[in-house]
Amino acid sequence: MGAMADDLVQRIARFLRDPGAGRFEALTLEAFAFQVERIPAVRALAEARGALPGRVADWRQVPAVPALAFKRVELGLDSGGGEAETFRSSGTSGRARSVHRHAFPGLYRAAIDASFPRFCLPRPAPPGGVPMLSLIPPRADLPDSSLSFMVDYVLRRWGAPEASAYAFGAGRDGGSLDASAARRWAEARERDGRPGVVLATAFALAAWLDAPEASGERHRLPAGTVLFETGGFKGRGRELARPELLARVADRLGVPPDRVVREYGMTELTSQLYTDVLAGGDPELFVAPHWVRVRVLDPEGPSERLEEAPPGEPGLVAVFDLANLSSAVHLLTEDLGAIEPGGLRLLGRAAGAELRGCSLAAEEMMALRR
């Protein structure tokens, strides 16, 4: 990869660990210039937008790479023989899969190190590790899932080996729950009183709560237990409205809503945003770590450089993630959101290229599904 690349990666990694170890603004411009030099698609976008390094004085002026492009375009650095990972999105809802060739998985681990404990681990951290139950398949089942990469790392890094387990495997129709394993883990926590962390997608969580084998089960997980929730339902199965999901989690597992941490991440990014509920934050607002900036851009604007939407107004979520050095530090997501005083509120997805014609408006389609 080269000494320059290694040096930049190291400096970004130090900044992730310690916000005093660098300046965000300076690092963003270096990272952008690095990508323009080495990733042809990023260079093409910068040229098309008249925003090559040298003409860009601020990270907000860096052209945002559309998440859509990860489905069609090679958007990753060649690691030059170094450690690298290739992540693919789940390809649910009938859409093409994003491919993210991650040349710096060390930055991914550094991002997790610098954010997961703060937002997700019980405090104080228990000696010997935290009991963890994952309803997210292990990497062995889904080697190209960035979420499975993260969860494997989290369990190795902070999980109590003798008290941690996986209870969801990859498979058809979104995967398969091992309800017995989940029950054994929960019963063990009820016996030993150790607060743990349950990591789950909303889909897997609902699968556990709905499982016939779990019918009638109610657990009182120890006070301090955290539920890490991510991923949503993604077009699979019956979707539960959020209030209903939280109510069922409280009733069936004994985990109150203020212990449910939501994570916002995606295959195309490296870092994650979280709701800061363990610190008393708003359970619906996502907070970014110090090396990430989130903006909401007005999608209706005429300009080739989208302007920021006024606070509280909906728009397209754009994320500047310094840890995403190997592909696109500035990403235009396919999500809609609004910036509020405490963080980012997610509002849904941008429309796909759905057929219209004689079809219903999107609002009516949603209404019919409720």
């Binding site: 005429p302 396919e334 014609g357 004689c358 079809s359 408006a361």
Partner: protein
Amino acid sequence: MSQDRLTSLAERLNGPGADALAGLADGEILAAWDETVAAFLDPASPERREIQDGLVRSSRLSPEGLEAGLAAVLGGMRGEPATRLFAEAAALRPDRWPSGFALVVLSSNLPALAVQPLLPALAVRRPVLLKSPSAEPLFAPSFVRALVRRLPALEPAVAALTWPGGDVALEAPLLERAGVVLAYGDEEAVADLERRTAEAGGARFVAYGPKTSLAVIGRDAAGTGIGAAGENREDGGLARDIVVGLARDVALFDQRGCLSIAAVYLEGSEPAARDLADALAAELARLARKLPPGPADPPAAAAVQQLRAEADLRGLHRPRLEEAPGHSLPVGAGTVIVEPDPAFQSTPGLRTVRVHPVPDLHRLQQILAPWRRRLQGAALAGASAAALAPSLTDLGISRITSPGDLQHPDAPWHNGGVSPLTALIGG
């Protein structure tokens, strides 16, 4: 709205309504119909003024866009086409027309669609209940009121109401008593209604699901024409009326209709596609002033911005729509992208269109095959494009015209390949 009210209505339609319709002559119905359509085409009429503001809001079109849209939908539903439809109906053995009212479940994306099933129903003397979507509850009831005012004998035979879609209990008495159900909507909603119709007793069911359209321009359509900047060209630039027509077929209804063009296939090279894209973008920019876009739906606008950025990242040709040099138009004015990959894709709307260069138009049937039965219309220019008409019809395309005419179907148009009369009476 209650089950009892709908039950009474259904029984009225099937009893006195059917009797009333049977006693009316074609000429009486057509006269009242033509007057009513004329009233809704006239912005100064009391009928239009009553619903104008609400219709602009609910349709999410600009006032100019609504005007053009109403002209497109209503224009072909009166006069000679309407008379022709009634003549076709008369030839279909009226003594064998089945009974039971027609339940028409409308969608909300285009205003005035109610007239398309309503006129044929009157032609075959089938009482009609039009269910308007909650998002657009104005046009159908207003039109029915105006029609009945002009022909009071119709009163027991036609009705237009709104209630939340998918209400199983509310809709059950209707499905049990209807003779035919016409459903406009997305696949999930239509499938659900079809299932419940079958369970209720099996009225005839006709689905008008989501579809899209395209244009095909043959190499021989080029000739002495106009370039993107309006200059005369002797080198084979595309004729201006073709570009103007294509832009109109993209822009009308802000591209929300099943006859709205999502892609243009140009027989030729990529440079020719770039020229066409430039001319099309310039015309869409001009149309943005004459036919301004309505307020953009944020999710659709977001999806268009993704497409634009992806096109730029891939180095695709994407001419900018500008109202003046350096001043871009809003996202709803349109987006034109030259896409070398010939695979057909629908778009998020907001006047977004891909131009695909295709060296050989004979490949088109294979290219479009995955979209069989999901394509509605094709605007063709040039002899080599026109020669494709039979194969496009095989793909399920129901309307083939020159550019600019696509979104002006007339009364006998076979939406989805189904005769509007056969949809109602079977056979």
